[in-house]
Symmetry: C2
Subunit: 308 residues, 2 copies
């Protein structure tokens, strides 16, 4: 068993990249040639969309393997297409694993008790059948989660003891309205922090403190948006041993320096996510070479981050 943080850390070292490529396919991002093949085979159905997404992701994964630290399928894009979409998600996760790329399922799940166990099964496998062996489940290494229900919910999803799966807890998100709840200030007597995001950060640190890999990072990571670099610097102090997953670079307007604001003093501990900026790069060219364009965009992102 390889600890989830060690696996990501190794992928960062081997690839020389801190990039996490978001796999968020949508119909308007699929080249017409792939659309046509799928329509011929399946008609104008969810199955056609799912089949085209799978072909598209296969091309992207082949092109980016070895040049990124992880991939991050956005679960919403897949489940919008029902059963066919879910199969595409599972196939995408398996293709990434086969290509040696760690998978972060961006599902933002958050539920209690037995439901947390079922979400673990959905993304990490092990759902029981009617016999005595597990029948199915996904094969991600990490899942993004909400902490609003507290430790019942977050810790139930993890293996015990720390092994090959991890979670990224939403701490400070990149969107404009993230402050409505995350930035509100706490009363003086509250021990964990001065605002809500701080408090979640302190919980993340507590949950992860006994779950470190050999690289010194824990399997309880944090989502910290690149659009709020001052928050990232403050939150790093609350979470010294936490891997940050950083959305908001590129499409949402944050620079490389913003995205790396939460890095540890040696530059480690940050994984920067980009989705459309890479996978839809071909739409800004005059070709339909989506895979080659994605690799070029990823190379440019890697260069930008290594100067950032």
């Amino acid at each position: 068993m390889v600890h989830a943080a060690d696996e990501i850390n190794l992928a960062m070292e081997t690839s020389g990249s801190r990039a996490c490529v978001g796999l968020d396919p949508r119909p308007d991002m699929i080249p017409e040639s792939l659309q046509r093949v799928a329509l011929d085979a399946h008609g104008d159905t969810a199955e056609a969309v799912a089949a085209a997404f799978t072909e598209f992701n296969a091309g992207i994964i082949e092109a980016i393997a070895g040049a990124c630290a992880a991939v991050k399928p956005q679960v919403a894009c897949y489940e919008a297409y029902g059963a066919a979409g879910w199969q595409c998600l599972l196939d995408t996760m398996a293709m990434a694993r086969d290509a040696g790329i760690p998978v972060i399922a961006d599902g933002k799940r958050g539920d209690l008790g037995s439901s947390a166990i079922h979400y673990r099964e959905s993304f990490f496998g092990g759902a029981p059948g009617f016999g005595d062996k597990p029948v199915t489940g996904g094969d991600a290494q990490w899942l993004t989660v909400h902490a609003y229900l507290g430790s019942d919910s977050v810790l139930t999803i993890l293996d015990d003891p720390a092994e090959e799966r991890g979670v990224f807890v939403l701490v400070k998100t990149s969107n404009p309205s993230s402050g409505e709840l995350q930035d509100i200030n706490l009363a003086d007597g509250e021990a964990r922090g001065t605002n809500v995001a701080d408090t979640v950060a302190a919980l993340v640190h507590e949950w992860g403190s006994a779950r470190l890999g050999q690289c010194g990072l824990s399997d309880v990571g944090a989502v910290v948006g690149a659009t709020y670099p001052d928050d990232a610097r403050r939150l790093r102090k609350k979470m010294p041993n936490t891997l940050f997953l950083v959305p908001g670079y590129g499409a949402q307007g944050a620079s490389a320096a913003d995205a790396l604001a939460g890095a540890r003093s040696d530059g480690s501990g940050v994984l920067v996510s980009s989705s459309r900026g890479i996978t839809a790069a071909w739409t800004k060219t005059d070709t339909d070479d989506f895979a080659g364009s994605a690799r070029q965009a990823l190379d440019a992102m890697n260069a930008d981050l290594s100067q950032g």
Copy 2:
């Protein structure tokens, strides 16, 4: 178009019930006779589990129709079984609609921007294909959601203007660790409330205030656990026009009086959820009449709530 709150309100009046039946199937809850049929048809696979869940839910839905206000499938139970599980979820929602029962998808989703739109498509339908018409999507009326990302996330999921879909925002959950984040106290200057759950409640009230149905309730509901009745009473004052979805009755130890603590002064505005207490009632009998046992348990719950 019927406003989502009016539809639930009508179902409460017609059935005389405030019960929401949780459809949270798990393999150990399925009678052996149904297991055997599914194993014969599909072997020891996820498909077998999903086929048995569908049969089981069909029996439950037929038995409880007309005697409950809503059903609430727990999405985690289905997606743990991959594509077959998702198809079962969609079929279950359709069967409930065909039986005239409003459906609350308990997915606890929470994401921003375009991902929020995809979650809306997952549960409310309308996902685009490669042609000019939507190709798929669920047919729930309500979805449970996290508010941690703020209004970007919650309001994007809703129709605009208010129509036949609604959300239940997690405000105060029923689990033991819910207070870790939800109960922390805020600084004096914070305008929306004295703790985090209060603040989410104030946001729910703001979001819903211009979205009332004819019954006077909005399509932005709130999850308020029965296990914290004092909180429910306090939160009702913050959310006078909000439909409460109340988990924790029965299996989690809350009484009818606890579950109804958040009702409005006329007794309205509360939907009380029970899952295993109804659908697994047969396991405490010496028969495998799961449907009949569920109806008996529901009748008993309805009687308990009307005295509570």
